[in-house]
Amino acid sequence: MTPTALPIREPVPVGRAVLHAVRYEWRHLAGLTSTWILLGVCALLSLVSGVTLALSAAEGAAPRPDTVAVALQWDAVATQLPLLAFLLLPLSTGPVATELARGAARTSWLTVGSRSLSYGAKLLTGAAVAAVTVVAGALLTLLAGTLTLTLTGAPSPDWVEAGPPFVRFLLFMVCWPVVCTAVAVLLRNRVGTALALTIWPLLGERIAGMVLGQLPGLGSLGDWLPFAAARAGLAGYSEPADEDREFLTALAGSDLPVAAGMAVFVAFTLVVALAGAYAYHRRDAM
């Protein structure tokens, strides 16, 4: 029997290859029950946040704009790292951990266009899931808050005033999965990544900031530590009184201006993402 040569295919256009890679990564997440449980918890907490926001307002008054901003930011500054970040951490580290620890890298690399595409798709998918979760969560908070306020007969707040702090939170949360994915690639260990990304923002930076503060000429470097800078960027919902300003600076760990704080965190995200890309390219598949 004479074999028939199969038709030679054309290279897939870049845009379509990216779309395929992102769909692959999304289906990786969507195929796990744990993903939907985590997203369900996020939705539930958003609803609760809306209700408590409405109930915490003074009787007959609308919630204050800074209270609304704090609620939409999942109380990121006071908690140092928002609960939403913890909830989304497994979704960002999971795909990489499965690939590098369980040998699934060969499936990814032999399915999507290239390692670059595979890594880029993980970052894009993680960022997109975070963005959708933040926006959907805010809408649920708004809905639950408005409904509760209506039921209690209180006026609604000016939601639009919370817009800028919410957009900064959205930016932070879009960067967060990028950082998580990149650190997971660098450490090649899911538990290690979770510990590093929990301990460093909560404790590591505080200690590093204190140590830097003791070194002559380096004291201001503590302000530029990435998560402290991010908190400074997330704060600034309103113009605080002088006595509050000092407390807020201590809480954030940095007194950088809002825009500078966010810029530092975005730059940190880019650097970590590039380091992760370098490491991802050098990994071998089991």
Binding site: T4, A5, R9, P11, V12, G31, R102
Partner: protein, 299 residues
């Protein structure tokens, strides 16, 4: 005939030891190539180098271009490397749909390949629940999803029962006859013998032999079994002919280096009665053992 895959000068070291040393391979359409070698010969590493899964020296081009150029590796090459690799909590059908999305093929293709590998019922199982044999089948289904022109299978018969091995052999032959280039590495030489058109033998990281099955048959003499009351009288004349005579029991011997026609003629010439004369053609195993003898001694 154009080559679908050409790999040149593949090299890889692990801890200062050369695992793959200058391996060059080409795969042609419609041809099943067997990739033979003992454990540690470098087959798996060579395959992973070809697929770009591990870093090393050399290059592998698919249709004249590196795999990355096509931006659709699964549409170019289907690889089965020790069963399916994915998240253990994924169900088979969901895992394959994920791969289908990455490969840009419709979800309906998933059910087609599941049916093709006889796993329609197992689609709801989690990957962690699969036996080795089922995992191999899912790996094969995954490799076929995007209908690639090149198939590379590393020890695909591992974990398969005899019925499944026969099914796999028929499937691979059918896929090759459709015009695909197929590379199969295996230790199960008997199975490869009924499958491959061509063999490449790897020993200590190097290609030590490469031949088509037709060339093998022409190259080597078979083993002739002779039985008769006085077959020992043939020993000296056969040795003079350059053949090897080995008595294997009373009135029984094996001759190598001569055809059954030569042995029969010689028996007639010397008046030796024969009760049995049988020539076994050279097997793939004979060929493999002859070229990889040194490697076997070491391992």
């Amino acid at each position: 005939m154009a080559e679908f895959l050409v790999a040149r000068g593949l090299r890889k070291e692990f801890g200062g030891k050369r695992a793959v040393d200058g391996v060059s391979i080409s795969l042609k359409p419609g041809v099943v190539t067997g990739f033979l070698g003992a454990n540690g010969a470098g087959k798996t590493t060579a395959i992973r180098l070809m697929l770009g899964l591990v870093s090393g020296e050399g290059e592998a081009v698919f249709f004249g271009r590196p795999l990355e150029y096509w931006r659709n590796p699964s549409g170019m090459v289907g690889a089965v490397l020790g069963g399916v690799a994915g998240h253990p909590r994924h169900r088979v059908r969901r895992h394959l749909r994920m791969v289908a999305a990455g490969a840009g093929v419709p979800d309906s293709r998933v059910d087609e390949v599941l049916e093709q590998v006889g796993l329609t019922e197992a689609g709801a199982k989690r990957l962690s629940e699969l036996s080795l044999g089922l995992s191999q089948r899912v790996g094969i289904a995954q490799a076929l999803l995007a209908d690639p022109p090149v198939l590379i299978l590393d020890e695909p018969a591992n974990g398969l029962d005899p019925h499944s091995i026969r099914w796999l052999r028929d499937l691979l032959l059918a896929l090759a006859r459709e015009g695909r280039a197929v590379l199969v590495s295996s230790h199960q030489l008997a199975e490869l013998e009924q499958l491959v058109d061509r063999v490449i033998v790897l020993a200590q990281g190097k290609v030590v032999a490469e031949a088509t099955t037709a060339e093998l048959a022409a190259r080597a003499h078979g083993r002739v079994t002779v039985e008769g009351p006085h077959v020992e009288k043939l020993a000296d004349p056969l040795r003079e002919l350059g053949a090897a005579y080995e008595a294997t029991g009373p009135g029984c011997a094996v001759v190598t280096g001569a055809t059954r026609f030569q042995v029969g003629d010689m028996a007639a010439e010397h008046g030796v009665t024969l009760h049995w004369l049988h020539e076994q053609p050279p097997s793939l195993e004979d060929f493999y053992l002859s070229v990889a003898e040194e490697e076997f001694r070491i391992s």
